[in-house]
Symmetry: C2
Subunit: 403 residues, 2 copies
Amino acid sequence: MKIIVLKFGGTSVGSINRIKKVARIIKSYLKKYKVIVLSSAMSGTTNNLINMSQKISKNFPDNEYDTLVSAGEQISCSLLSGQLLTTGTKARSWMAWQIPILTEGKHKYSRIKYINKTKVLKFLRSGGVPIIAGFQGVDKNLNITTIGRGGSDSSAIMVAKFFKAERCVIYTDVEGVYTTDPNKLNSAKKIKDISYEEMLEMASLGSKVMQPHSIQDARLNRINVEVKSSFVDKGGTLITKRRNIINNKIITGISSTDNDAKVTLLGVKDRPGIAASIFKPLSENSINVDMVVQNISSDGKETDLTFTIKSFDLTKTKKIINKNKNIIFKRMTFDKNVSKVSIIGVGMVTTPGVTFRMFQALAKKEINIQVISTSEIKISVLIKRTKVTKAIKALHKEFNLEK
Amino acid sequence: MKIIVLKFGGTSVGSINRIKKVARIIKSYLKKYKVIVLSSAMSGTTNNLINMSQKISKNFPDNEYDTLVSAGEQISCSLLSGQLLTTGTKARSWMAWQIPILTEGKHKYSRIKYINKTKVLKFLRSGGVPIIAGFQGVDKNLNITTIGRGGSDSSAIMVAKFFKAERCVIYTDVEGVYTTDPNKLNSAKKIKDISYEEMLEMASLGSKVMQPHSIQDARLNRINVEVKSSFVDKGGTLITKRRNIINNKIITGISSTDNDAKVTLLGVKDRPGIAASIFKPLSENSINVDMVVQNISSDGKETDLTFTIKSFDLTKTKKIINKNKNIIFKRMTFDKNVSKVSIIGVGMVTTPGVTFRMFQALAKKEINIQVISTSEIKISVLIKRTKVTKAIKALHKEFNLEK
């Protein structure tokens, strides 16, 4: 029994006409596969529900929040199943508690622990298409829970894992993953296949196709994930193991951010452990420090320290540093007009000179690099925000991403 | 432990402000009672969901219909519970499957069979207010069901039964049951208490406060039901056993219908069983025949037969009668401009002359009676629809209902 999991996001089931279209997509798989469907709530529904809860209280209780918002998937799944049934395809909707999809962890941030396959498998074998509510679960006390991180994408990937599906197709409103943001560069190309690791870097660095946590779930469980559009009938992007990828490119994609801020502490009194003294209270306040550069202090007494954070954390960061009695510094400066541009590719591990080519390409365009950070498969640089488009264009060309 | 069940209808929880008001009403009972709440969906929600299903198919599958519409109560209950929680009252929402409220029968028309009290009782004892989703249940295979007849009112009454509640209060958008429709007669008075039997006659004859099936459930289980408004703080109407009612009135109320049609078969060839021959095929087609009058045939050969049906059944009725080969008649006439006016009261059993007073009061106003039917506690007459208001006014005065 070859099983495929199809997941439809909110815009894909955003209206009755869209639901009819989705039913046709589902039917197109039935000759070749046993199909399990995961559906999000119709776009808008979840936000409406959250808005109502916010009118009651900004601190609406997490357990009732989960019960409230999971009504959204109940609506979309029963409508989709009804559409399939009335057009001759055996189907039925399954809420998480009916399967059950067991979760653990706190309300709003639960994780799928176990999926009971018995009933769904029986239904699949009888020729039916199960339409499973994404985003929701049930805990061992029969409380409704929701899956915070990754949401319906994570539900789909966990269903693919438990049912040993050949593939998990994430239908959404974009055609796939691009070499860079098509809104920033016209010549951006759709990527045919990409490794989990590259996709993780692309996602966490600003490509919004899939949430990092669900990519991580796919990577850990070696699930082949295809991201494609439910609006146009075109091939998407396959996210898979490195070894499955036939690709002679050094760089797979370029991403950029637009909500970074740079903080510089000048004349910091240097002593062992000074960096920890600065960053510990930030971390304790859930402020994520990203890039860091510390100048070597020539006399061993004073140093300058620069780091980046999300710009919405800037006010909080300033307050924490000014209150910090464990550090002594002369002056603090900050800059919200910065962006991080990254080149990503598993190919760079085996290719010397990538860093040099990146820096040279930027230098040619007179783009000044403020901070640098690297990993095995990516190089990130911090530059002036106004230069981002220019930088992406230069790098896209340098690494032959326009083919 | 004195338990009270409070049920809130769709308009009572129709907005966030209404939900806040309902939370205050609930709190007002907490000093005296352990409170169990039943809530309908926010007004408009259910209709929106049904409209969406209709856009998919006029024959939207019943099982998915139940899953779809029961999302409405999931939303209202979690919001109401969230409101109580954030204003300091321990509460939680309960979907039918979480309790469970077990139903039997077909989808869309299920009946509550059993309610497991364990978890809800434990929560009540701990000082919590359970907010239970009305209108929904779950069958033994964990399918979501809905309670067709009586809906959330029936849920409330069955909860009151299983939890041995002292009273079931139905909060709605009217102040109670009136002696007659206040839209038709200004001087209509709110009834303080009314017997189940009278209320059943009032309901099935056109007073829309509660559905007949939920009144019947209340009667069978001897549940004291109070109907009152969640919009104004005034006493409502108590529906209870006859013996609880202190009332010196002969007539409790007057009701009228506005969707009847009269059918007359002239010159029907008379023979034993002729009425059965006419009515059996109507009944088989779910056409409800209400009032019947058959003239005595002077020669024993021909008779005229008159009966009433709902006007929306008229076309179907004509077709069935014309196709009926077991009856011979000369001519069929019909009249859609008729209404049934009824006087209702347990007092009439012990009071002679009620019929005479009714007929005389109508005669005085020159209102012609076309058909009569009576039961132990009601007398109904069929009259011209244009005369309904005049008739109600005359009868209301005749039986001193304006006090």
